[in-house]
Amino acid sequence: METRLFALQRLSAMLLAPLVLVHLALILYAVRGGLTAEEILGRTQGSVGWALFYGLFVLAAAVHAPIGVRNVLREWSAWRGTSLDGAMLLLAALLMATGLRAVWAVVT
């Protein structure tokens, strides 16, 4: 399982690297241009492209973050075993649910 998690974390990082850069550039663009929330929603609503972009972002983050948090906790605390793995699955589900809900809210 450790090798699978190691691979998943690196693969999700490879996805996240360009996604985060685009995301940051987007924030700069939206803020600098002084776009209102209404204007932003006008561009995202009904956009399959943005739905796919941020859907993928959420998916990659939900895979990537819990694996890293699990590693940190295993190194910095005595927490191990199935309770930790279960908690990290919950964290993944939470990130996925809140993230996808946010994506849903701006594209519909």
Binding site: E2, T3, F6, A7, R74
Partner: protein, 242 residues
């Protein structure tokens, strides 16, 4: 070796987990190793001082200690190289239970060798002809590059990941595992990969490189661990084999 005209200020750890540094003044010599200094203190000042050594020529790996904050093989460490100001602080190795003074309990270190599948098991019966290995093959070259480990535990002591995760196998055990997965004569190569990819195995390595930095025989356990990571990842692919 003439009469010393100056002295070294040496602080040596006395006791086990609970203990203190004791200061000694040791005659400085032109050519003197850290092990010479410890031996001088034991023979002339502190007969009860506990420390380990055997060969005194950098082969047996038993004399490693922490010298001025860094793990070193003391028999091949010249005082002049590490104590420019004439001061030495000598402690037992880090990351291992302390027994007394400079002697550590090496049990966890060697248990991890076993846990990493470090025990050689022949793939052919005793009577079979010895298989011929091509020394130029990539596998054999990878094994040869890592094989000269003297089990001194300097890398294990230098590794922060070992400090953080007591179940981490550590650089020496993983380096040993890497030599075995590249040894065509080893009968349990897949089992070694199973062992090193379990929790606390090769994927816990942070690639800090402290092992490479401190290894007295200039091995590169970080590269060995990277090799294990690659090999275990390759097993995930269809047809990745052992």
């Amino acid at each position: 070796m003439g009469e010393p005209d100056h002295h070294l200020q040496v602080a040596i750890w006395r006791g086990a987990g609970e203990g203190r540094f004791v200061d000694y003044e040791v005659p400085a010599r032109d050519s003197q190793t850290v092990l010479d200094v410890v031996t001088w203190v034991q023979r002339h000042r502190e007969p009860a001082l506990a420390y380990r050594f055997a060969c005194r020529v950098g082969v047996c790996g038993s004399c490693a200690m922490t010298v001025n904050g860094r793990p070193r093989w003391t028999c091949r460490t010249h005082v002049r190289k590490v104590a420019g100001d004439g001061r030495l602080t000598i402690e037992p190795l880090r990351n291992l239970p302390r027994i007394k003074d400079l002697a550590c309990d090496m049990t966890p270190f060697f248990e991890k060798w076993q846990r990493a599948g470090g025990r050689f098991k022949g793939s052919a019966p005793r009577g079979a002809a010895i298989p011929r290995l091509d020394p130029a093959s990539p596998e054999r070259r990878a094994a040869d590059a890592a094989i000269e480990c003297i089990n001194c535990a300097v890398c294990y002591s230098a590794c922060d990941t070992v400090t953080w995760s007591p179940d981490y196998l550590g650089p020496a055990a993983l380096n040993r595992a890497w030599t075995l997965v590249n040894d065509a004569r080893h009968g349990e190569r897949a089992r070694v990969l199973d062992a090193v990819e379990s929790a606390g195995g090769c994927h816990s390595c942070h690639t800090h490189g402290s092992c490479v930095e401190t290894c007295p025989v200039e091995l590169n356990p970080t590269a060995s661990i990277a090799g294990l990571k690659r090999r275990t990842l390759r097993r995930l692919l269809p047809g990745g084999g052992a």
